[in-house]
Symmetry: none
Subunit: 277 residues, 2 copies
DNA sequence: GCCATTATGGAAGATATGTTCCATTTTTCA
DNA sequence: TGAAAAATGGAACATATCTTCCATAATGGC
């Protein structure tokens, strides 16, 4: 066995498996194949489960880990667990460090936000429930009019949605708070409301969503956790968790979701107008 | 505590958290909030890690699990581990699958926008000139007040900048076009203007940037090409090219740049106030 | 076919992790 | 304000899990 140190990333690990598996004895090769086929299980399984899956004894699996350069299963598992959970590094402390170390140059900062944005996007693609998206789009495209509400940070998203829907010829009303005019009575049965809010949730947004629901409109919520106050209001919940960086979120994922919504609804409407059922 | 049995799915679990968290004591509520905000960590963490994250003792976290109806942490963790193995085809292959399968399905569309966003972010990190960023930040942080203007699609970015600057205690004015009131005379010498516009460029935005320059304010332009009409107006040009998808852009990169700007300016200001040169 | 070498299985030992208990602190209500 | 109830923190305990070891089985070369 070679004395190289343990792989530092999952890619590296899979490379090494590929590299050594030809010269491996039967049982160890079973392990190699099982891990290569089910890398996702490593993070959440015990040696017993893994070895059973591979059809070998725990001790064999143990040897396999060591052949790969790990001290044991635990070390290998840490790699997988980190790549899963620590995909969301603690950006707050990272920002701290950048500031302290003086490496906090604007470009370094930008790089961090770019990275945060990328993680958020990947996470969105991985976690968003396609069925939830489908039902949300169905509700929106059947609506007579789409009402949009979002305050503070979410206002950027709301205004973008309003812009894009308008461009797609979807009847839209953006509920802003100019003049503190309350326009909740504009929401009528057969309409739809898109409510966007992130922690700390704006009461105004929630209130308007509730008013919409009472008026008989379908409510689509874009929010950041299943613990959102919008959850009791509507079953149509699209959750987007953005990677934090300090006190700020990039909104990259949220905006991508927004564009996807608009385009999907826009095309659905167009299809209907052209007589396709 | 009620004697109902343990939740059988993560959805059910989050529902129950929502349901009970109001009547929970302080520490247990901390647990509830932490779990709701980081459900992904449960699968790969130990009680010690979870309780540390929530800021409580392991025993408190234990009690929390039991209030939810589980026998202990292990049982709750099993729920997450089981559900985890399923939704983990990795990002790349998932994207492939989406494209192959429902070419026009909403999820496929979302995947496209996610991909577009990612490309834009990578491109931004690669192409943005660090020196341009530095000078822009210097100009902004030396300004008495920051004026922000952007129309149509760029309005989302403008409103986000306004929100974030305000949060950073930077004096800010968002120039919208409510009531078609013209507020260009609010811009004075020693101020700075951030003008955001993309093709087809809004004349109003360009006009306001020009007015600002004439008034003796520094103008920072966020735009999409060097051929922008803002080029003659100011040397401080930050160009961001977003990947198009159909008629829409995701704005992911632009927003990341925006956050970076804000945080950099905010910290620069704070440093100055504390007497650091 | 025999010996040396390597691989394997199972069980025993070490360690990390989950769980419970109880003294102490904090809160609540009279 | 004082007593009762609830909540909390930390340490002790139990257990699941990882890891090592070695006797036995299989393999390969001579």
């Amino acid at each position: 066995m070679d004395a190289r140190s343990a792989p530092a990333s999952i890619e590296e690990l899979l490379d090494r498996i590929l590299e050594v598996s030809d010269g491996l004895p039967k049982r160890l090769r079973q392990c190699a194949e099982y891990v290569a086929a089910n890398p996702d299980r490593v993070a959440v399984s015990t040696v017993a489960e893994m070895s059973e899956g591979a059809g070998v004894q725990p001790s064999a699996f143990m040897r396999f880990c060591q052949v790969l350069g790990f001290s044991g299963f635990s070390q290998m598992q840490r790699l997988f667990r980190d790549s899963y959970a620590q995909n969301w590094p603690d950006y707050a402390t990272r920002l701290e460090k950048l500031r302290e170390s003086g490496a906090g140059s604007p470009s370094a900062l930008l790089a961090e936000f770019v990275e945060a944005g990328r993680l958020s996007l990947e996470n969105l693609a991985k976690t968003l429930d396609p069925r939830a998206l489908d039902t949300a789009i169905k509700a929106l495209s059947e609506a007579n009019m789409v009402h949009i509400v979002g305050m503070r940070r979410a206002f950027s998203v709301a205004s973008y949605l309003a812009y894009a829907f308008e461009k797609m010829n979807v009847p839209t009303m953006l509920h802003d708070s100019v003049g503190n005019l309350d326009s909740r009575h504009a929401i009528r049965e057969g309409d739809a409301v898109i409510a966007i809010t992130f922690a700390p949730y704006s009461p105004e947004t929630v209130a308007l969503a509730e008013a919409g629901a009472r008026a008989g409109a379908k409510v689509v919520a874009i929010t950041d956790s299943l613990a959102s106050p919008l959850r009791p209001v509507t079953p149509l919940l699209l959750t987007v968790s953005e990677a934090d960086f300090g006190d700020f979120r990039s909104l990259s994922a949220t905006l991508s979701l927004a564009v996807a919504l608009v385009v999907a609804v826009g095309t659905a409407n167009r299809a209907r107008k052209n007589g396709i059922p």
